[in-house]
């Protein structure tokens, strides 16, 4: 049993190590500070700045949009809906939604684009990815909010606060570290997702200037570069994957550290 544990951890670590060792030598300053020049996909000059900026815009926008919806929902589920049918139904529905493959989200966003007759753009990417991270974020926040001690709320009500005031000024402050973790978790998930944005965000060599421009993303940059037959471009795919991994893993570590830091504002 300890052996199978080793196999699991080992294979996951080896995977990260292989990609990092293969990609790190190909990584250079120009890779991350330039957009692709002419003939980039044939092995000429350029970088993946378009994809880095695109990914950050897309995941950032999506996380913000999902946050605006999921914080009220999480608070509502706990403080207003209580143990009602609506609450348990919403939780089940969100759990199930969280299991839906990202390519289906892509197809879903795509049907809306068909209805409206619009082209792939940053805006649609943001909407689709926001839907994708919504269940993850909401359920993570829900768990945190649920753990807030009842006494804290009762103290607030005893002072004559309304539900809204309790929720905004007491509960969300107490849940702050957990909310932060949920947001970063969602951001990491959003930036790493590729299948959904493939259909709705398009791909371009330029940095997006408005919400209606198509946008490049890092995972797709990896995917398209590994698909070319040129070894030099394939090396860049590994380097792009290292950039992506770096962002995702540092987010994950940052969320742990920040959670610890913010714990001091929490009433124990």
């Amino acid at each position: 049993m300890a052996f199978s544990m080793l196999v699991v951890i080992g294979s996951l670590l080896v995977m990260v190590a292989v990609v990092v060792f293969k990609g790190a030598p190909a990584l250079s300053i120009s890779m991350i500070t330039q957009t692709p020049r002419g003939g980039y996909y044939l092995g000429k000059e350029g970088g993946i700045l378009n994809a880095i900026v695109g990914s950050l815009c897309l995941a950032g926008g999506a996380t913000a949009l999902a946050f605006v919806i999921s914080l009220p929902v999480a608070l509502y589920l706990e403080e207003y809906a209580g143990k009602s049918k609506l609450a348990s139904f919403t939780r089940l529905s969100l759990d199930v939604l969280g299991g839906v493959p990202s390519i289906v989200y892509g197809a879903f966003g795509f049907t809306f684009m068909l209805y409206l007759g619009v082209r792939a753009s940053l805006l649609w990417g943001i909407i689709t990815v926001a839907l994708l991270v919504l269940p993850i974020m909401t359920r993570a926040m829900d768990e945190v909010v649920r753990a807030i001690p009842l006494e804290l709320r009762e103290a607030s009500y005893a002072l004559g606060a309304t539900k809204l005031e309790t929720v905004l000024k007491v509960m969300s402050r107490q849940a702050l570290p957990g909310i932060l973790t949920a947001v970063l978790l969602a951001f990491g998930r959003g930036i790493g997702d590729s299948a959904s944005v493939l259909l709705v965000a398009g791909y371009t060599d330029y940095i997006p200037h408005s919400l209606f421009d198509p946008v490049a993303t890092l995972p797709l940059a990896v995917f398209f570069q590994i698909g070319t037959p040129f070894p030099k471009v394939q090396e860049r795919a590994y380097a792009s994957a290292v950039v992506l991994l770096g962002i995702v893993l540092s987010l994950s570590v940052a969320s742990r550290l920040l959670t610890k830091k913010f714990m001091k504002y929490v009433v124990k």
């Binding site: 699991v8 996951l12 199930v96 390519i103 879903f108 795509f110 997702d193 995972p219 990896v222 992506l244």
Partner: protein, 295 residues
């Protein structure tokens, strides 16, 4: 008074958002169904599901080889993943010292966040050549390496974190007294695990496996990169396959120019959604029951 009004107003908005988020799944199903109705009315169901002739240009859309391809890859992944994951979860829940657990659990969470493209890249880099140069010659087969087997291996590693974390949670909900009762009867640790812990958490373990299965079923990019994408029913694990999600991802570019093509793609998405939803609902209901029992 103003505070009361504000409270009322906010609670209505929150209710609205909650209802909205609980209905997303249904909206998704409905719109996909709407768009795929076109192909459902022009082609008989039997043709769509049991014909393997995939010629979009002449209007033939047989999903058979794609469905079988998905099945092959997913089943293979589960065959690899389930024993290893369950043993690891048992180890983590029952045997591992606290120090090990406190390192391994966050590590698994961390690794669960790795984007699927990275898994796919690793598959292209390591698994595919390994199969081409060592595994296939060893059993006397020739292959490009881009095969069902490669897809299965990459997928199995992707579902490790899901199955392990869920089933470990389930094992831990078994009350400690039950274990002590078993020890008191003179059972060894393994006997206790086998006859007491596993038996009482069987539904939960099933739920964790189903969750892993549905995750693997819908996974797109990593599989797309290593499975070869040939629209034919595979006859061995060294043959390439073409799973449903990969089909949707690969053909969106020329979807618009061929009539019925977009409808067929969205039907593929609908099929995927329905299958995954079914599995997810089942496993979530099992897990909810367990959660209630443990409270």
């Amino acid at each position: 008074m103003k505070r009361k009004l504000k409270d009322l107003f906010a609670s209505r908005i929150m209710l609205l958002l909650t209802v909205f988020s609980s209905l997303i799944v249904f909206v998704m199903m409905f719109t996909l169904f709407q768009r795929s109705r076109l192909i459902l009315t022009t082609q008989p169901l039997s043709e769509l599901f049991f014909s393997s002739s995939w010629r979009p240009l002449s209007g033939e859309f047989g999903f058979h080889s794609f469905i079988i391809g998905t099945m092959w890859v997913t089943t293979l992944a589960m065959i690899f993943a389930v024993p290893i994951c369950l043993l690891s979860a048992i180890y983590l829940a029952e045997y591992a010292p606290n120090g090990v657990r406190s390192i391994v659990k966050p590590l698994i969470d961390l690794l669960a966040g790795i984007p699927s493209v990275v898994y796919g890249l690793w598959g292209v880099l390591t698994v595919v050549p390994l199969i081409r140069d060592y595994v296939a010659p060893f059993v006397g087969a020739t292959t490009t390496g881009y095969s069902v087997l490669a897809g299965g291996i990459v997928l199995s590693i992707m579902v490790f974190p899901v199955i392990i974390s869920v089933s470990e949670e389930v094992f831990r909900t078994v009350p400690y007294e039950v274990r002590e009762a078993s020890f008191a009867l003179g059972a060894t640790r393994w006997q206790t695990v086998k006859h007491v812990v596993i038996r009482s958490s069987l539904p939960g373990v099933a739920a964790s496996i189903i969750l892993g299965f549905s995750r693997a079923f819908g996974e797109t990019m990593a599989v797309l990169m290593v499975v070869g994408n040939v629209a034919k029913v595979p006859s061995s694990v060294f043959d390439p396959a073409y799973p449903l999600p990969a089909l949707i991802a690969n053909t969106y570019g020329d979807m618009m120019s061929i009539p019925l093509y977009d409808s067929a793609m969205l039907l593929a998405a609908l099929i995927l959604l329905l299958i995954v939803l079914f599995f997810n609902v089942v496993s979530r209901i099992i897990l909810l029951r367990i959660e209630r029992r443990s409270m």
